[in-house]
């Protein structure tokens, strides 16, 4: 996690360190763990406590991908001890080669896809800014990543002719999101109830909190004002539709 992000351009605000971003101050899912059954408690506790070594990526690859992950799933607002591991989780998946059950016919295998993308991103940084991607300013890093997000790599790179950029982007996002939003600190941030067996829920309607949940208290969140990854007004859905699994659906 590199914490060099602020100010982004000239206008970026000073970033406060937050142990818990979000609108649910004082809410802690881990504080509820005695109410979870054993298998879940063991799994989630391990997720919080474990540190995984990087085994799949080389040092250089890991350094580059870490810089990418820091922009794709930024955590500069989180205090040092409360950042959520992402790269190591992704590395573990690729190390075990655990698949999500399928591969698009126009995509290389997942392991290869990441290696190719790392190479492409580095080449793009060199060509456009004559610097290595991790050394670029946050804004320049975002410029390159935004072009991948938009499906129009700038500058163009031959790797994206071999591997559809929107599919790689979807896989990268899926891996980052899965690591971040499966962590209890992220649950605290968004006010999700977390594991709820054997206790269950009793207040189903009207968004009411359980006695052990917290009500929302909205406040201005100090995200940077000028990041290219902020939500755009009327952002259109990408043309390609669903590119991922179907969890949570019917």
């Amino acid at each position: 996690m590199s914490r060099k992000s602020f100010p982004y351009k000239a206008t970026g605000g000073e970033q406060r360190d937050l142990s818990q971003p979000g609108y649910y101050a004082g809410y802690s899912t881990m504080a509820q763990k005695k109410n979870w059954e054993e298998a879940t408690r063991t799994l989630v506790t391990k997720r919080v406590e474990q540190t995984l070594a990087i085994r799949f990526f080389s040092q250089e690859q890991a350094a580059l991908l870490a810089a990418v992950v820091d922009r794709v799933m930024p955590q500069d607002d989180r205090t040092e001890g409360r950042t959520i591991p992402i790269l190591s989780i992704l590395d573990e998946r690729l190390h075990k080669n655990s698949l999500n059950g399928f591969r698009y016919e126009d995509m290389p295998p997942d392991q290869e896809a990441y290696k190719l993308a790392i190479q492409a991103i580095e080449e793009m940084a060199q060509e456009r800014f004559r610097e290595s991607f991790p050394d670029l300013s946050v804004h320049r890093q975002e410029l390159i990543l935004k072009s991948l997000h938009d499906g129009k790599p700038e500058p163009e790179n031959s790797i994206w002719q071999r591997m559809p950029v929107h599919r790689f982007w979807a896989m990268l996002m899926e891996d980052c999101i899965t690591a971040y939003y499966s962590h209890p600190w992220a649950w605290d941030e968004i006010g999700f109830g977390g594991p709820a067996y054997p206790r269950g829920y009793m207040r189903l309607e009207n968004g009411l909190p359980e006695p052990w949940e917290k009500d929302e208290q909205r406040s201005e969140w100090n995200a940077p004002v000028d990041s290219l990854s902020e939500l755009e007004e009327d952002s259109a859905p990408p043309e390609h539709g669903s590119l991922h699994g179907h969890g949570g659906s019917h």
């Binding site: 298998a39 016919e105 309607e205 009411l208 590119l243």
Partner: protein
């Protein structure tokens, strides 16, 4: 420690184990939604039955968690290749691996198909008619609704109107949005079901605690899966379920009848299970894959594929998710994702300019799934992703469930890639056609309208697909279908297919209940035919008549209410 199936139920022990060289009556490949029911029925009727299941035999207390990422193992995660103009996301998008199959991770919406679904060609000039009617299946719908059982309104107004044996569930925030939006537009809706989740305890299964982790496997045992509804009874009646047994090939004898199944055990060692008949129940992808991989002299293009239709006419349903952001809190993670719906747009309406229709249903993505939807729906990433997720509790999500017609080019074939046993993996090709596109466009706009009408401040949508069926379809004409109306392959008298892959069309109802009802009917047929299946090539197509004495315990004394 006993093998647990929910907090109260344990797996009957000891389970019968057939010897390596013993011949059984039925070898069933895949113990999922259909396979679970088949194993149970046939065992109760006194047949010697083995179920081969590629995945584990879940101990729900040890193996399952209340956690999205931790439930990864429930799905068929082995490699498959996906392509076509609208390639389908597979893996967690469609099928399970392990005893219970897809019924372990289904949301358990349990609507019936409508009578019109069985006659779409006659009524609308599209797709094909089924070789059977709704009325042939109706008694099995009623029986399965009591067996698994289904909770819902006492009056369900669409299709063949009917009631549900267990009362409806209380409404969650998302169901509230569906009912509100529909009501404001004058659209009828129902809430609290139909869903195969207990609203009151049932034998050794507790009722729902509204924790919303249905798709992660219900540790509570409130949501039906064949693992807890039918498999225990199968084992009590002498069936063997062999987990970690990956079938690789159905073996054909020289006289044109099958005599067993080759499979790999956990260590990769190959075995042969000899049997007098074989039923393949491996899901709409793995079933055609296994039959294609079983090609042999005389059946060069796959077993039971003289028609050339094996693997073809694969269907999915349009499953677009519409998300609406509300000023007030919703907390969509509470209550089962499946709990309210409308089937007001199910049948053809000529004014819309396309054939057939869609349903509107609640969905309840947990944080990881919801974040993925935001990637697809609004291109969220970086700080934008963090920001939209901080509003997770303000969003509600509704799903379109739209009928996609059967097309020959949508299919399962064998890919060049191989799995760890050296077996070619499945390649799935999927492309939308004109009617499908129009239907999806209309359906998604209608659901967005409902979301606005419920008071959402922002409405976005993500295109996706759900529920693969077809690819070994049933029909009366052996030159255009793989199996007859009881699942018997046209080509091989003692080889059957029984699972979602035999569906000729799929309507806009979730397929699980129909798949289980069809399995119970096929079982009755096999039981009625008795030894004929093993020795005779004569094909009797008379309905077997339903057996009410073969249900699992606790089915008795329950009724299907009919409030006219």
């Amino acid at each position: 420690m006993p093998h647990r199936l929910g907090p109260m139920q344990t797996l009957p022990s000891p389970m019968r184990r057939f010897k390596e060289n013993e011949t059984v009556d039925y070898c069933i490949v895949g113990v999922g939604s259909a396979g679970g029911v088949l194993v149970q029925r046939l065992a109760r009727a006194g047949f010697r039955v083995v179920g081969l299941e590629a995945g584990p035999f879940w101990d729900t207390e040890k193996d399952w968690v209340s956690d999205e990422k931790g439930s990864y193992e429930l799905y068929w995660n082995d490699l498959r290749i996906t392509g076509g103009t609208h390639p389908l996301a597979l893996g967690a998008n469609n099928s399970g691996k392990g005893v219970g199959g897809g019924s372990v991770h289904w949301a358990a919406f349990a609507p019936r198909f409508h009578p019109s679904d069985f006659r779409v060609y006659s009524e609308d000039g599209v797709g094909v008619d089924w070789p059977m009617s709704y009325w042939d299946l109706k008694p099995y719908y009623e029986l399965l609704e009591r067996e698994i059982p289904v909770a819902g309104p006492a009056w369900f107004p669409w299709g063949d109107p009917h009631g549900h044996p267990y009362g409806p569930h209380p409404l969650g925030g998302v169901g509230d949005v569906l009912v509100r939006g529909c009501t404001n537009l004058g659209i009828r809706s129902v809430a609290g079901g139909p869903v195969a989740i207990l609203s009151a305890s049932h034998g050794d299964r507790p009722h729902c605690i509204y924790r919303g982790f249905c798709i992660q496997g219900c540790k509570v045992g409130a949501k039906a899966s064949t693992l807890i509804t039918h498999v225990p009874d199968a084992i009590s009646h002498g069936a063997e379920i062999r987990a970690h047994a990956m079938a690789s090939r159905v073996s054909l004898r020289e006289d044109g009848r099958v005599d067993g199944v080759f499979y790999f055990d956990r260590e990769g060692k190959e075995h042969f299970q000899r049997s007098r008949a074989v039923i393949v129940s491996g899901y709409a992808i793995e079933t055609p894959r296994l039959l294609l991989n079983s090609a042999c002299p005389g059946h060069r293009h796959g077993l039971a594929n003289s028609s050339g239709t094996l693997g073809k006419y694969l269907m999915a349903q349009a499953g677009d998710v519409v998300a609406g952001r509300f000023e007030e809190l919703i907390r969509l993670y509470k209550a089962p994702p499946a709990h309210a719906l409308s089937e007001e747009f199910y049948e053809t309406d000529p004014r819309r300019g396309f054939a057939r229709g869609f349903a509107v249903q609640t969905v309840g993505p947990l944080p990881v799934a919801f974040a993925k939807q935001m990637v697809a729906a609004i291109g969220a990433w970086g700080w934008g992703m963090r920001r939209v997720m901080m509003d997770y509790n303000h969003w509600a999500t509704l799903g379109v469930l739209g009928e996609i017609l059967p097309w020959e080019e949508n299919r399962v074939e064998l890919a060049e890639e191989k799995d760890r046993h050296g077996l070619p993996v499945a390649k799935v090709t999927f492309t939308l056609h004109d009617n499908d596109k129009k239907l999806i466009e209309f359906g998604k706009n209608k659901v967005m309208e409902i979301m606005w009408a419920a008071g959402a401040k922002q409405v976005v949508q993500e295109s996706r697909f759900a529920h693969l069926v077809g690819a070994s379809r049933m029909g009366s004409d052996p030159s255009t279908s793989v199996v007859d109306k009881f699942g018997r392959t046209h080509d091989i008298p003692n080889l059957f297919v029984c699972d979602g892959s035999i569906l000729p069309t799929q309507g806009s109802a979730n397929p699980g209940l129909t798949i289980q009802a069809l399995a119970a009917r096929t079982a009755d047929y096999l039981i009625k035919q008795g030894d004929n299946i093993f020795f005779s090539n004569r094909r009797d197509l008379t309905e077997p008549g339903i057996r009410y004495d073969l249900s699992p315990p606790y089915t008795k004394f329950k009724g299907n209410p009919r409030i006219a």
